[in-house]
Structure formats: structure tokens, C-alpha cells
């Protein structure tokens, strides 16, 4: 790509930023991802808080007094499940909600080219 072509393409990026579709796309992404990140971080640090403030609860044996399994252990292992669930929900949301919006914006730009 020549320098001139690159400059023109990058100016096109600036132009793109000013479209309302691009702003809507950006808002949608941030509106989902930022609260979700805050939520899952809080959820992981809940374990630490519970361990500090409710150690008896976390140390409680599940299934008998000489059982090896405690609430804390189950909580820890359960985090694998929630991590997977959160990732899965994000991927599905992005595939269903975000991509069509991006497609529409892409199609509009393609349309602009034909006129």
C-alpha cells in the first residue's frame, strides 16, 4: 500500500468514527463488557471475602465430619463452572448481538461504494 493510500484509508477510519452506527456499536460493546467484567471480578473476590469473614462457613465439611470435601473446596471448584458459563454467555452475546450490528455497518459501507 502506498503512503497516500494508507493516509486515505486511515482518514476513512476517522470518518467511520463519526458515524452514529459506529458510536452505537461502541456503546453496545462497552455497555455489556464493562458491567460484566465488574461482576465477574466481584464474584471471584467474594471467595476471598468469605474466607476472611466467614471461615467457619468455608471450612464446613460436606457429607460427614471426616469428609475431605469442604464448602471452600466446592466453592473453588465451582469457579471453573462459572468461568466457563461467563465465557460462553459472552461468546453467544457477541455472536448474536454484536456481529449482526457490525455486519449491518459493513453492508452499509459496501452499499456506499456502489453508489
Amino acid at each position: 500500500m502506498s503512503n497516500e493510500a494508507r493516509t486515505q484509508q486511515e482518514d476513512a477510519y476517522l470518518e467511520l468514527q463519526s458515524t452514529s452506527e459506529f458510536q452505537a456499536l461502541r456503546k453496545k460493546f462497552r455497555g455489556f463488557v464493562f458491567p460484566m467484567t465488574a461482576f465477574f471480578l466481584a464474584w471471584y473476590f467474594l471467595y476471598v471475602l468469605l474466607s476472611i469473614f466467614a471461615p467457619d462457613f468455608m471450612g464446613q465439611r460436606v457429607g460427614g465430619d471426616d469428609s475431605t470435601i469442604t464448602v471452600g473446596l466446592l466453592f473453588g471448584l465451582g469457579q471453573f463452572v462459572t468461568t466457563f458459563a461467563i465465557t460462553f454467555i459472552y461468546a453467544r452475546w457477541a455472536n448474536r448481538e454484536l456481529d449482526p450490528l457490525a455486519d449491518a455497518l459493513g453492508a452499509r459501507l459496501d452499499g456506499m461504494k456502489e453508489h
Binding site: 484509508q9 459506529f22 471467595y47 476471598v48 468461568t83 465465557t87 455497518l105 459493513g106
Partner: protein
Amino acid sequence: MSNPLSLAAVVLVCLTTLAVGGLGLRLSRRTSDFYVAGRTVSPRLNASAIGGEYLSAASFLGVAGLIYDQGVDMVWLPVGYTLGYLVLLVIVAAPMRRSGAYTLPDFAEARLGSRAIRLVSSALVIGIGCLYLIPQFQGASLTLTLVTGAPAWAGGFVVMVVIALAVGAGGMRSITLVQAMQYWIKLTALAVPAFVLLALWFRSGSPSPQVDPSWHVPLSPTSPDDHPTYRTVSIVLALCLGTMGLPHVLVRYYTNPDGVGARRTTVTVIALLGTFYLLPPIYAALGRVAYPTLPAGVGSDTIVLRLPETFVDGLTGQLLTAMLAGGAFAAFLSTASGLAMSVTGVIDQELLRPRLARFAGGDVPGIRGFRISAVLAVLVPYVLSRVAEPLGLATTVGLAFALAAATFAPLIMLGVWWRRLSTWGAMAGLLVGGTAALGSIMTTMVVDDLGGWAGAILANPAMWATPLALATAVIVSLATPGRIPAGTTRTMVRLHTPERVALARSRLPE
């Protein structure tokens, strides 16, 4: 405990790695093949490769050892390893892909347009790679000595030679195939003995693990000098932010064909890692059944390898040990090859190629410099692994994460999400975070036992060094608004424009 079957398993894993590496050689032709496999790897293969690359000596031997030592709160370590991928996917993966950079230094230069920042980033990639490679070599030495009685230098040496050959021969393409295979080798090698041992444990009347009651209670100190809450929070922070700054992890996202592929890859990776990490706690608990306390001179990192022959004698025990030894070598080889690959790329691009080109008048074939770099990338950490005081496999890997969290994580997060980041701010953040984290890590590795709060703070620097680096970058950026790179707005839009839009955009008349 000399065991010919284990030796055979280790040899088999090494030879298979070399054979598949050789197969990759016939497939890779262009430079981009060497670096990112021509961006054509399917999500499932890629996810297996990420899992294979990520599950290192720390996961295979170290996590079980730490849970054995310190109790259930160490379950947090594998959760943190997994969580890092979620943070990476949601916050940085897509913009990083769109930057079109192959490596972290490429990204730093593309975003900030500064050659100096690129050099510092390159030095950090080499530093993080070295820190992460050291425990792989130590784990290999430990394993080979335990199962064959070989001298302590031998295991690491074998891994070093195999890695140099595999990386130098085929680059990333061969590595992707090798590593995808190694995830499944590792899972099988850890799962089958675990189930056999569990069955034997049930048959012997399922005796309880002999532990202190505090073993079951999360975050209970093992000694008055122990600060488990600080330690755990710091480790979780290091793992959850450090993953995005690991040089061998991010490059994998470039091998996905598109964003949908990257998401599918991450979902699969988390499922694969979660499945794998259910196994180390089993070894830790069974370890406490077999050894209420560790025999003198035995490190907890070897607990996984020692278990089979304490539960069952004869051929069965030897077979299970052989499986574990083979799986452990798969872990060392795959992680070390991914790391060596990234470090090699940086040495080749930043240090070797410019000098070789000057020396030979621009006539050096690109591949030869790459191969010299591969040898350098494994030789230096091997030598360090022989001289450094062993800290425990998972602990040393944790330090690599902490360094990544204190340096690259602020740079990437601010670079992707904050348009007022200035060149000086980014540089100050990297230097402050790097100096703080590296200083603490060196002190921890050299000084035997500091103890108390000083020891806890220096052994787990992520908790304070990461916010410090972030704050430095922000404050210096705000103070030097004149140093915001001229093309920042354009770069930011490019980073945040979905691929499909960018594609349509590029078809517009120019």
C-alpha cells in the same frame, strides 16, 4: 526408584515431539508460517494447542504440590490460570488482533509509535520468557532424576535440546500440531493414574487424608509468618492480569481466522483447562493419605510422581509412574517450546537480524537467524535454571505472571482503552512496574527466607506493583499531554472497528 518404563515413556514423548516437528517442517514455507501459522488454524485445534502450551510443569506437578503443602485455598491457583483467559478474551483479544501486530513489542510500537518502548517491551518478553522457562527445566531435571536416577543436569538438558530442534526446524506451524497433541497426552497421563489411584483408595477402605484441620479451611496461615490472604489476592491478581501479558499466549490469538473463531477458541480453552485442573486436587488429597508429612529431603513438587508406587507395587505401579513421567515431559516440552518460540521471535527480530544483516551486507537468509535465536532462547534459561535457587515450580511460574501483570497488563489495558496515554506515560509505567516486580523477584530468588510481611510482599509483588505501574502511566501521561502520539485517534478507531466493518471499509474506493 529406577524405572526403565518411565525412561521409555520420556524417550517416546521426546521422539514424538521431534517427529511431529519434522512433519511441520515440510508444511512451513513463508515467514508468516513460521510466526503465526499463516492465520489458518481451526478453533478446536487452536484451543487444544493453547491448552497444551499453557499446562506447564507448574500445572502438572506444581499445583498438586502446593495444595498438598498449603491446603484447599491453593485451588485458587488453577482457577486464576483459567480466569486469565476470560479477562484476555473480553478486554483485549479483539483489539489486539485488529492492531495487526504479531508480538507484544509490535503492538507497543504500533500503538505508541516509539522505538524505545518497543525495545523495553522486547527486553520484558525475554525476561518473562526466561522466568517461565526456568521452572520447566527444573521440573524436567527433577522428574528425570526421580524416575531414572539420572544426574540433576540431565532432564533440563534433554528438554533444551528437543526444544531447540523443534522450534528451529518448523516454527509455529509444527508447534501448533505438537501442542494440540500434547494437551491430550497430558490429560490422559494425569487422568488415568488418578482414577486407578482413586479406585485403589476406595478398595483400601478410603482412609482420610492425615492433615491439620487448618488444611481444610481456606486462607488459614500455616505459620505466624504466613499471610495467606494477601498472598492469595496477589496471586489471583497476577494470574488474571498476567495472562494477557504472557508472550506465548497472545500470539495464539493471531492464529484464529476471525473474531468468532477467537471466541469459540476461548470457550473451548476454558473447558479444557477446567477439566484438567480437576485432577491436581485429587493427587494432593491422596498425597496426604500416603504421606501425612513429607519424608526428609523430598519436595512437594514430586508428590504426583511418587504416589503410584506407594499405592501399588510391581508392574502396575511402574506403568502408572511411566505415564505420569511421560505426561510431565509433554508438559515441559509444550510450554517450553511455546515460550522459546516467542522469545526466539523477539531475539531474531530485535537483536540478531539487524546485526547479521549489517555484518553480511543484507544477504542472510531469514531462517538461519531464526535458528541461531532459537538456540540462544533456550540456552540462557537452562543455565539460569542450574544456578538459581529452586523455589517450587508453581511459585516460580507465578513470578513470571506477576512480572507480566506489572508491566504488559497496564500497557495493554491503557493502550487499548485510554486515548490519552502518552509515550512518556507508557514508558514510565513499564519501567516502574518492571523495576518493582523484577527487584522483588530477584530478592526472593536470591535471599533464602525473608519471612513476615517483607517476605510476603516481595514474594507476591503483583498486588502493589501492578497498581503502581498503572498509576505511574496515568499520572505521567496526564502530565505530558504533548507526548500523546499524533495518530492516536486513528489507531484507536482501528483497534475498535470490528473486522467485518474494516473489511467493507477497505473495499471502498481510495
